[in-house]
């Protein structure tokens, strides 16, 4: 299984003329050094004997054959490509398999002899020394080793002997740009996935050209190339492979995913390497004979691709891993016996906590409202929905209070005036008003009583505002502990809250005190005045009755008629006020509660909570009342009031469907039903709906492809790393996505996540598997009706065949990854 290994693929042994340490010291150091893989790359020689000794003694380390060659470019090529050469030669490290040690050294000796160096009787170190100042032609090296599998790495960015010193891009002094040199180097690297350069992130003469102009990358390795033994092991490269020479094609063909230099990454890039699902034990049933077969599958802590033709059991494995819908496959698996082995532990029955995205569910996930449970959204949405629920609950209480009140008012006034309007033509009567003493209108009499009422009202309003302020203050959030830089802000917020709370308490105490004082205020003068006016009016009326009864009766009639008009006005004003409060309240409840803008990969996401099935208040009224027009609300209510005494008339105001005349025995029954229906309609709604806005646009308005892309971004956001899932299972996440989205979003995200958390991806897309750089491939297949699984890597012969046969674009993607001129279905010997 591939994993990140600590590698130093360029160091010199005691056999190199350039190093002074002894063989014994070198071997002892290499035995103890903290490296998983190394290669001895002496100057122009290969000490086969030393190699074999090390291979025998250092069984816990992987050793790759290597040599550092002095290379120069043939004069013919220099002329042909109009190259500008500076210096004699450059250094290149060449790696080969230790299987080829003897044969390689034999061929290298041929090259050395061509340099007119007599090697007879010379030690390896002496031969190495003899090559100093001499160089092999690049084309000759390529020719001699054409039947070998090898990789070539150039010194680059060093002070001397680097490729770009020999073939400079430009002259910094004169400013001359050597375009032909750049083109030559470009051609050298562009068509060969087996070339790399030495250096960390800063050595970029070649790589920057590729990254900036060609949007591709050249592999950079970091080596010790140590002069002293103590330096070996201090500079290294994390390479994700199995430590074998043959697998080097994997990191070289995808360095961004597999190669990390120790100047940037001192720690192992695979963060979850001690926290992942190592194995699963399945009991697969052969439907032919019902026999169970135990199958153990091993996993990489990184990206595990699951491939296979349709119906081969890919989704079964995904279901077993996530322990979701496994009963759908009871014909093929005895899931009760499935066992999971987490790294460092034994097999266990319980399935680890994981995140599962079933096939074709990304879009339905959103439609079904399950998006609320996506880790990224959960916290934001939970808060919004809680606030919305509280607002809705408060509104329902308000609605009940107001509708009960309006109903009581309706019945009270209809009882009082019997749904009539007084005829006022009596005003035309000629009435002798002599001796009639006018009474005092107590309602319009202005004294301290109205001032006290207004004062009390104002105090109540202030009290209400203080309560609102307190609620807002309680909502002020302390920052999450996760952002350490914000921690000092917590005490600022806390101090602010405490200080304001103290002030608010003082105000509340003051309100309470003032309220008591007003209650206890001696308003005896007002009470006495009221009593006096009443007494006076009674006396006046009785006097008037004695002196001019018809005149007083006329005045009484006039008062009564006026009062009636005033009370009808009051009734209508109250119904209008209730209508206004409930209309506005419903707008508020219905309106979307939106989160702040949240950044996702430079895009803005807003989450909202809404109650979609709530209507406008007027719509609820329209459902109850015939020909209802909200602009004439109080008029309609007044007309109903005027018909209260006549059941045959009142029924015409209500919707026949809801108000069956035979079940409503009285006008009062209609009114009771009206208010009861209204309240229950308002309170009836299904649920809170989540809405997402991406860059200000409703997610529903995007195309299915774009929607999938956005949802995937959200689904795979880094917040899921906070949820302590052991792994993520994605079943064909590429569905509905176009090629660009698969590449720029899905694959990019998988490549980022796989170093943080274990991933299982079921896919038909070669791009997702190969460009996503799946370290471990599980191939699902049918074996005589039973389902089975095999596993391997994308460079393994059988797996390459499966990729080509099964995956969309399999061959094309393999060719692109492993060099278009060097792709072979058969493994090269």
């Amino acid at each position: 299984m591939d994993r990140y290994l600590k590698c130093d693929l360029h160091m010199h042994s005691n056999s190199c003329y350039s190093r002074k340490y002894s063989k014994e010291d070198f071997i002892n150091h290499m035995k103890n050094v903290d490296l998983d893989v190394f290669s001895i790359t002496d100057h122009n020689v290969v000490d086969v004997k030393l190699y074999k000794e090390l291979i025998k003694d250092l069984r816990d380390k992987n050793i790759i054959g290597g040599v550092e060659l002095n290379l120069s470019i043939d004069e013919e090529l220099v002329k042909k490509h109009k190259l500008f050469i500076k210096g004699e030669y450059f250094h290149a490290v060449l790696w080969f398999s230790t299987v080829d040690l003897d044969e390689f050294w034999e061929q290298l000796k041929v090259l050395i002899s061509e340099l007119k160096i007599d090697i007879k009787g010379k030690t390896i170190k002496e031969i190495s020394k003899a090559t100093e100042g001499k160089s092999f032609l690049l084309s000759r090296v390529q020719d001699v080793f054409k039947d070998f599998n090898y990789f070539l790495t150039f010194h680059e960015g060093k002070s001397s002997r680097c490729l770009s010193n020999y073939l400079p891009n430009s002259d910094t002094k004169s400013g001359i740009v050597y375009n032909d040199n750049q083109v030559f180097k470009h051609n050298l690297f562009y068509y060969n996935n087996r070339l790399a350069i030495e250096g960390g992130i800063k050595t970029k003469s070649i790589s920057s050209y590729f990254e900036e102009n060609l949007n591709t990358i050249v592999t950079r390795f970091f080596f010790s190339d140590a002069l002293e033994l103590e330096e070996i092991g201090k500079k290294f490269t994390w390479i994700n492979f199995d430590g074998k020479f043959e697998s080097l094609i994997l990191p070289l063909s995808d360095p961004n995913a597999r190669v990390f230099t120790s100047d940037i990454n001192t720690e192992n890039p695979q963060k979850n390497r001690e926290n992942y699902l190592e194995k699963i034990k399945l009991y697969l049933i052969n439907p032919k004979n019902n026999l169970e077969v135990e199958k153990i599958i091993e996993f990489s802590p990184s990206y595990n691709g699951i491939i296979g033709s349709r119906g081969s059991g890919k989704t079964l494995l995904g279901s077993a891993l996530s322990n979701t819908n496994v009963s759908d496959y009871s014909k093929y698996i005895n899931n009760a016996k499935t066992e999971f082995k987490i790294f460092g532990k034994g097999f266990q029955k319980s399935s680890p906590k994981c995140k599962y995205l079933a096939q074709n569910t990304l879009l339905t996930l959103f439609k079904n409202g399950e998006a609320k449970n996506i880790d990224f959204i959960k916290d934001f949405y939970g808060k919004l929905e809680k606030e919305k629920k509280e607002l809705t609950k408060a509104f329902f209480i308000k609605a009940k209070t107001l509708l009960d009140y309006e109903k009581t008012e309706f019945i009270s006034i209809s009882t009082k005036y019997q749904s009539t309007i007084n005829d006022i033509t009596f005003l035309e009567d000629i009435v002798n008003e002599d001796y009639i003493i006018p009474i005092i209108n107590i309602d319009s009499f202005q004294d301290g009583k109205s001032f006290i009422t207004n004062l009390s009202q104002n105090i109540e309003n202030i009290d209400k505002k203080v309560q609102e302020l307190e609620e807002k203050l309680n909502q002020l959030k302390i920052s999450s502990d996760e952002y350490t830089e914000l921690i000092p802000l917590n005490s600022i917020v806390e101090d602010f809250k405490n200080s304001i709370k103290k002030h608010l308490k003082l105000i509340k105490d003051e309100i309470s005190r003032t309220r008591k004082e007003i209650t206890n205020f001696d308003n005896t003068p007002c009470i006495l005045r009221d009593k006096l006016i009443k007494k006076y009016n009674n006396l006046v009326i009785s006097t008037n009755n004695l002196t001019n009864k018809p005149g007083q009766a006329h005045l009484d009639d006039k008062d009564y008629a006026l009062k009636q008009l005033q009370e009808y006005t009051k009734f209508r004003a109250k119904t209008q006020k209730v209508f206004d409060i409930l209309s506005l309240g419903l707008i508020d409840v219905k309106s979307e509660a939106k989160s702040e803008e949240i950044n996702i990969n430079n895009d803005k996401l807003t989450i909202s909570s809404t109650i979609e099935d709530l209507k406008d208040y007027k719509e609820y009224l329209q459902e109850e009342l015939k020909n209802y027009n909200d602009l004439k609300h109080s008029e309609k209510m007044f007309e109903i009031l005027m018909s209260y005494n006549d059941k045959s008339k009142i029924k015409d105001f209500f919707s026949g469907q809801k108000y069956k005349a035979n079940s409503l025995s009285s006008s009062n029954a209609y009114i009771e039903k009206f208010y009861s229906n209204l309240l229950s309609s308002i309170q009836k709604f299904d649920s809170f709906t989540i809405k997402l806005y991406f860059n200000g646009k409703d997610l529903e308005k995007y195309s299915p492809g774009k929607k999938s892309e956005i949802l995937l971004d959200i689904f795979l956001d880094k917040s899921l790393l906070n949820e302590q899932y052991l792994y993520i299972v994605l079943d064909q996440p590429e569905d509905n996505m176009d090629t660009k989205t698969i590449t720029t979003k899905l694959i990019k995200r998988l490549r980022e996540l796989k170093r943080e958390i274990q991933i299982f991806v079921i896919s038909h897309s070669a791009a997702v598997i190969i460009n996503g750089d799946s370290e471990n491939l599980i191939y699902a297949f049918e074996d005589e009706l039973a389902l089975s699984y095999s596993q391997g890597r994308i460079i393994d012969k059988d797996m390459k065949k499966n990729i080509v046969d099964i995956l969309d674009g399999g061959e094309k993607n393999l060719r692109m990854r492993f060099n278009k001129y060097d792709f072979k279905m058969e493994d090269k010997k």
Binding site: I421, D423, S444, L565, Q566, T569, K570, A573, K574
Partner: protein, 95 residues
């Protein structure tokens, strides 16, 4: 404006409509108009038509004017009081 029709019955003319106070249906319509909390009654609605020369009719119209003016003058306060009572209900329940 308060005026009289051809039958010398008192009518209230408002917005090209005429409401005869002797006609119960028309009077109800007038009540619907003047008790509407959303309508502010303008100053002229209860003015007596100056063209009425008959002193008896003029006196009758004046009586109506006084009656309706009393109502008009109290309307705004009544509406405010009604609104306050509704709000008071909410506060009482909230307590």
């Amino acid at each position: 404006m308060i005026g009289v029709n051809k039958e010398d019955q008192v009518v209230i003319n408002h917005n090209d409509k005429s409401y005869c106070l002797k006609n119960p249906e028309e009077y109800q319509k007038l009540v619907i108009l003047i008790t509407d909390p959303k309508i502010e009654l303008d100053g002229k609605i209860f003015e007596v038509d100056k063209d009425i020369t008959d002193s008896r009719l003029k006196a009758i119209c004046t009586k109506y004017k006084e009656f309706f003016e009393s109502f008009k003058n109290s309307k705004a306060q009544i509406i405010e009081q009604a609104k306050l009572e509704v709000e008071q209900q909410l506060l009482t329940k909230a307590d």
